[in-house]
């Protein structure tokens, strides 16, 4: 008899490429997009006689990730050899970490479907990436540029129970890793890849079902779709009286389905043993404390601080802190112009709007925070009005540059000369006697019409406040 309801049990193994200058065990640049086999050396090619030397920065970044995620940091950790043959593996063993990873435990708070949940981590370890096989018509090749890139593997406990939760976890993880400067988490460049472990069981049961593994997912949407499919598939099999086989499955994005790759029964014996070419990694308490002191502020804390420090509404603070680059940009503008409210308005409306329209990252915007701060200052000092400021912003967005220079060169400054404005006010009253007499007779709204006329006559450059004063004076109200 099959139960009426099932629940999914999901665990993730997330591989994250670290943001280091060089590879994990050699001095080759850790960079994406170069010509094949141009970022290689004897070490990452696994040439006879080459030896690995551990990159201290990769160890630091992994420990930082561990500290941000509340892990316990092993004072002594170790690298191990994991043996298996594959053409993209230069040495036919991967230097990884087996029973003494850098970080143990930890967890991450997620929010999905309106509820909060803590997802426990099993461990975080550091290992080297492999090369990339390329297949041509009749031959194959291997690009070793990626071989030896530092790869951090984050393993969760099976604490996730839906595709939405898996997605929320990945998003929250990405946000933290980007915030920590640990990885760019650029999915297009393969900075973040994940393996999914998934099983289903009767709702409320505490026993675990047989799990399948879906390997090498490289989009969040793919993870969501694959899980949705796989959970449904497993439930259908069980409802139909079948059994789930422990196996590795592949997600076929075009077909929208997973299919079996190989049975786990033939799983490799990886023959782990301590890497004799590398000494154990020893971290002193003082070293870890130094790194802890360097921890960046996480999104939640930053959001709260923005509310407190800049007196922003919680919603606005949330929008501004969602992306670390945007938050950094906002803070730079706010500090530079001394007006957080105006900075927030500009960033939330104009900046985010153009970035969205252009599909651009904040890092690539030509409007520097200093330029935007100057622009805000020009408005505050009434050198230009808002419509002009938006024009200047558009120009800065296109070409960059300094807003003050731009305003001067294009003659965009407001007319603040009282006599010039008074002349325009006289002109407006003369041209529109009706509204003028309406205003004298107490119709306050007529003044707005006359201000509009003054603005029109000045081609938008008149200071509206001075225009109102001049009109009132001429119409005998003052």
């Amino acid at each position: 008899m099959s139960p009426s309801a099932f629940e999914a049990v999901i665990g993730l193994e997330v591989h994250v490429q670290l943001r280091t200058e060089t590879k994990l065990f050699c001095a080759c640049p850790n960079r994406f997009g170069a010509e094949p086999n141009t970022l290689v050396c004897p070490v990452c090619l696994g040439l006879p006689g080459a030896l690995p030397v551990a990159n201290r920065e990769a160890i630091r970044l992994t420990v930082m990730a561990g500290l941000l995620l509340g892990c316990e940091i092993h004072r002594i950790s170790r690298f191990d050899r994991k043996s298996y043959f594959y053409p993209d593996m230069p040495k036919n063993f991967q230097i990884s970490q087996y029973d003494r990873p850098l970080c143990l435990g930890g967890g991450l708070e997620i929010e999905a479907g309106g509820t909060h949940k803590r997802v426990r981590l099993t461990r975080i370890h550091l290992e080297e990436d492999v090369g990339k096989s390329l297949h041509f018509e009749t031959t194959s090749g291997v690009d070793f540029n990626r071989a030896g890139a530092p790869l951090m593997e984050i393993v969760t406990e099976p604490d996730l129970s839906s595709p939405d939760e898996a997605m929320a976890f990945l998003l929250a993880l990405k946000q933290i890793l980007v915030y920590g400067g640990i990885s760019d988490c650029n999915l297009e460049q393969g900075n973040l890849r994940c393996d999914i472990n998934c099983s289903v069981r009767p709702a409320g049961s505490s026993a675990l079902g047989v799990k399948t593994e879906i390997k090498n997912m490289n989009t969040f949407k793919g993870v969501h779709r694959a899980l949705t499919y796989e959970i449904d598939r497993q439930i259908r099999v069980l409802r139909g009286g079948g059994t789930i086989r422990q196996e590795t499955r592949r997600w076929d994005d075009d077909a929208g389905a997973t299919d079996s790759m190989r049975s786990k029964e033939y799983a490799h014996d990886y023959r782990y043993f301590p890497e004799p070419d590398l000494l154990p990694v020893e971290l002193t308490e003082a070293q870890i404390e130094t790194w802890r002191a360097d921890l960046p502020e996480l999104p939640a804390a930053r959001r709260a601080r923005f509310v407190r420090e800049y007196h922003l509404p919680d919603y606005d603070a949330g929008v501004l802190t969602a992306d670390k680059g945007v938050a950094d940009y906002f803070e730079a503008v706010a500090r530079s112009c001394g007006n957080p409210k105006a900075a927030s308005n500009w960033v939330m409306t104009d900046v985010l709007r153009v970035l969205g329209e252009q599909g651009m990252e904040i890092g690539h915007i030509r409007v520097t925070p200093e330029a935007l701060a100057k622009l805000i200052g020009l408005v505050e000092r009434r050198v230009i009005n808002m419509p002009t400021a938006r024009e200047v912003f558009a120009a800065l967005f296109e070409h960059g540059g300094d807003p003050e220079t731009l305003v001067r060169e294009r003659g965009l400054g407001q007319v603040s000369d009282a006599s010039a404005i008074d002349a325009l006010a006289a002109q407006a009253i003369e041209a529109h006697p009706g509204p003028a007499s309406d205003y004298r007779n107490g119709k306050a709204a007529a003044l707005q019409f006359l201000i509009g006329q003054v603005m029109k006559l000045s081609r938008g450059k008149a200071d509206p406040r001075l225009a109102a004063e001049a009109l009132k004076r001429r119409l005998g109200i003052n």
Partner: protein
Amino acid sequence: MSRRSDGQNAIASGAAEFPMSDPAAISLYELGESLAHGDCSSTDIVQALLDAIARKDGRIHAFLHVNAEEALSEARTADRRRAAGEPPRSPLDGLPVALKDNISARGQPCGCASRILDGYRATYDATVVARLRAAGAILLGRTNMDEFAMGSSTENSAFGPTRNPWDTDRVPGGSSGGSAAAVAAHMVPAALGSDTGGSIRQPASFCGVVGLKPTYGRVSRYGLVAFASSLDQIGPLACDTRDAARVLATIAGPDPMDGTCVDVPVPDYEAALRDVERLDGLRIGLPREYFAAGLDAEVERAVRDAADCLAALGAELVEVNLPHTPYAVATYYLIATAEASTNLARFDGVRYGHRVEGADPIEMYLRTRAAGFGPEVKRRMILGAFALSTGYYDAYYLRAQKVRTLIRHDFEAAFARCDVLLGPVAPTPAFRLGEKLADPLAMYLEDILTIPVNLAGICALAVPCGRTAAGLPIGAQIIGPAFEEGRILRIGAALEQARGPFRGAPTL
């Protein structure tokens, strides 16, 4: 060949005779003096050695590759430097050395005497090679060895065995047999070897030359094709202790490319060799286990004579125990093979070396490795993979590591009672070709007196101390604590000075 070797000081006047006599019959030191005095040029020396190789190596097969053109060209460059009045770059400037075929030198083959590296040429210099080049040394050629340094006789070379210059029916020892034979036959004054379980000391002993296994971490392994990473160490094979000291001083010292290379300053090894007439206050331990059953009587006599000779110089002899010695061979063959099984996994035909095509990568791996590796290498990789496999790891690899710790403690306890240890290098003198080939275990036991030093990571020197009645060389092993290479070289030098150096060339 004019030079007969019937023991000591056979070539005392070599420098004066140069270049009329066999130039290789003199040491790096003497050749250096000849260069300094303008008695000969680097080109003369290299040409004379190339002639010697042409004359002798057909019978010895010490070299797998001779860099004739490059060596002559480097010699001419060195001569030009000297003629221009440039000061020598080092005591090795303009002098030739040979490299074991597992040490990478840019542009040269580095085949480890294996078919699987057919056609492979190193694209970079090992750190030791870079240091030799910087010192002005000339790389004369690449010496034969047991395939991937796995063996004790050089019979496991895929390109045929090397023969012992003292008796060409006998092996030169191994795995650095080519380096030892080349120095003994005066085809090169000094060579580098590698020692994982005795591979420098045992061939040095069999061929009557000096061989030094430095402390693990004293010399960079970068560029040495790994056999067993936690045991391998590069060291010199040379005519005498002074030459060995010179070569060691050139190659030793910390290296950012090898994380296991230790940041300990390199002392003046040659200074340690001066004033060795007396050894008062020195305590020499004789490990009981190294003089146990199975030790050849002539070997025992020669080593005990050496001990008595040192005692006559004022050293005190004390008996010590190294109780875990009987477990060393088994421990070694688990650890070394486990590491080797992964170190040699990279030879797969994908990127370099020999390839036998297959329908898919797996078939290509199987065919390439089946054709490329010799039987001893396959035997050890299988043993190592087995020792690491799930369910056996604790019983084999992990237990072997624990015994390794006990062996290290044995030496620590012994060194609390004495300054150095003295014993034989090998239980027998050089054996006949083919004698132990059918019995791998008998071959493995050949290394019982050298393996413990590698497991403990300490240093040891093989120095000639006598001959058998049949004229075969016998070596004594002087073992020192970590980073005490100066101390063991000094005792070796004392022995050389008291007894006269066992140099001279076998009749070829």
